[in-house]
Symmetry: D3
Subunit: 132 residues, 6 copies
Amino acid sequence: MPMVKLVEYQEASSEARAVFDDIMATRKTDWVNNFWKVLASHPPTMRRVWESVKQVMAPGALDPLTKEMLYIAVSVTNACEYCIHSHTAAARAKGLTDAQLAELLAVVGLANQTNALADGYRVPVDPQFVPR
Amino acid sequence: MPMVKLVEYQEASSEARAVFDDIMATRKTDWVNNFWKVLASHPPTMRRVWESVKQVMAPGALDPLTKEMLYIAVSVTNACEYCIHSHTAAARAKGLTDAQLAELLAVVGLANQTNALADGYRVPVDPQFVPR
Amino acid sequence: MPMVKLVEYQEASSEARAVFDDIMATRKTDWVNNFWKVLASHPPTMRRVWESVKQVMAPGALDPLTKEMLYIAVSVTNACEYCIHSHTAAARAKGLTDAQLAELLAVVGLANQTNALADGYRVPVDPQFVPR
Amino acid sequence: MPMVKLVEYQEASSEARAVFDDIMATRKTDWVNNFWKVLASHPPTMRRVWESVKQVMAPGALDPLTKEMLYIAVSVTNACEYCIHSHTAAARAKGLTDAQLAELLAVVGLANQTNALADGYRVPVDPQFVPR
Amino acid sequence: MPMVKLVEYQEASSEARAVFDDIMATRKTDWVNNFWKVLASHPPTMRRVWESVKQVMAPGALDPLTKEMLYIAVSVTNACEYCIHSHTAAARAKGLTDAQLAELLAVVGLANQTNALADGYRVPVDPQFVPR
Amino acid sequence: MPMVKLVEYQEASSEARAVFDDIMATRKTDWVNNFWKVLASHPPTMRRVWESVKQVMAPGALDPLTKEMLYIAVSVTNACEYCIHSHTAAARAKGLTDAQLAELLAVVGLANQTNALADGYRVPVDPQFVPR
């Protein structure tokens, strides 16, 4: 039950429609997911967030699949249902295998465990870890 | 200021010492970081957590550097100072470059932003994202 | 699916009923939301939490709408579905506009992003920021 | 580096001083920790929070040591440095042993791990777990 | 809507089936909850996590009910719907009363409040709290 | 201990220097805080994040002080030490009073408490709260 009405392409403002167009052109698809339909209710946010996503998730020093996996790791840690679904689907579309997903979630689970242990015991940072 | 005394190898119980030995052998180093010295105060936890780390972080469907990057993504999202330092150092040792670290943190920052937007707007999960 | 049975006014203990009465009188309404019906299962918690809400959310140095917006910011960051819904509805009732909600969520999203960047890079606190 | 000046007993307002007195009387000590000195800068918050702490942490269906352990579990999960220190110290004063602390942190670590796994895999709630 | 197909006992690999058997034998039941059916899709994770759960949740310096309560405290703080349900049910089965659950949640709520206050005010750790 | 070297204006790339210039011009100051010196190590991130901050924090349907308060609410909930300091200082500079800060933190504390209670009790969303 979204907080605002989902804005479909046909009813979008010209500013939002331009973002829809860029999303579909960049992704080479004619479909846009609900996240953007919700943001289309506030075109400045839609455009700003899309520009960030487009820039950050583009291939660079890290490949797109690795970036999607990092996105999943964050989304799981934040328990963000929508983002877990959308980015796992995106990672699948980029080739994520069952075995990779299983290992990814195993690392995320383990990291959440040792984060808690390190915080709870107040482990002092080793001087060897501090960048000079 | 740790909650318990750090246990050095020399003063460790034989059970903890065996774990220290395995950590050093597995990592091909003669140095062990504070996290394990703290856990050495409770050998069953030390051994159990080490066995998990050893199994989960080993090369598999994902390579060790990708796993370290996922670990950083979780640790940053949890704001775990110790873990951010230790796993960034570990990733550096496995070859993480400045450019990769910058992109990793950019993805982590972006994901935390869009997680909040998706949660705040209560975006409904697209049926296309649901695994059949 | 709540953990305990929702307690309606008619079946509430006299202690819980007094809190129901005060909620309705304070809010000038004859309707009470599920949060309080759940807490009515443990009247000491219900009364204590209501007294806190009544005191903290009253007009003071900050106006009630600003307080509701802060409540939303926390609830979104915690991904608390119930609280996002209840406090966005409360803010709407206090006059929150579509444009204000959009800007509020944009700030909340941005803050979650830069929190992650500041944590991940371990940015040292500037001396200028430290209160004397 | 606190956000506000710590208020010592001698300089406290009469309202804050009454809370200081009640804290010391309730705890049978002549010492008050920094948390309350900070809150003494805003006596209504100090009094309200103290009344909550006094009521919630009193012996009841759960004993005070169990309550302190629950407090630690939350504080570790939130990575709240001050609260981890203050409540571990409080639990120690109530008899928490080294072995109990180690098991407590082991549970907290494990729970953070399985929380992430359950969230990441989107495990459906078993009907058997739903209260009728 | 889980990310992977739930694996029932009949279709499980022999490695997963051995874990199912151990879960049922340890818990003296013929029923296994969805969490394990999901993990059965990746037997190494299933076995590793089950070994951890079995070791950590066994009676020791803390009794099993206290451990379940700690698990609930973490799960509530992380807003993990599945884990809140599964561990509240487990605690109920171990004897948790309505009054104990109410006090547990009151402590968890209070701790989340004072965690935020301690973090927001940046309360300095009292030297008395630091373990020597 | 930052993860990367802080980049001062004099040693910044021309791309980063342009962002430094815009920050100082926008804020009408000759001083830039450490967050930007850290991001200057990766100019695309620096520029992208600054453009977002500049757009989102500008006066609009919400005034700049309200936006800073929302930023603090998020930062406290995430326990981000740097952000709590930087945004409390920014809010102070925009006129935040002691009384307003105290009420802000009281709301943030309360919201974290009731978020936990709503999550722990699994309170069902009232139909009245759902936007049509």
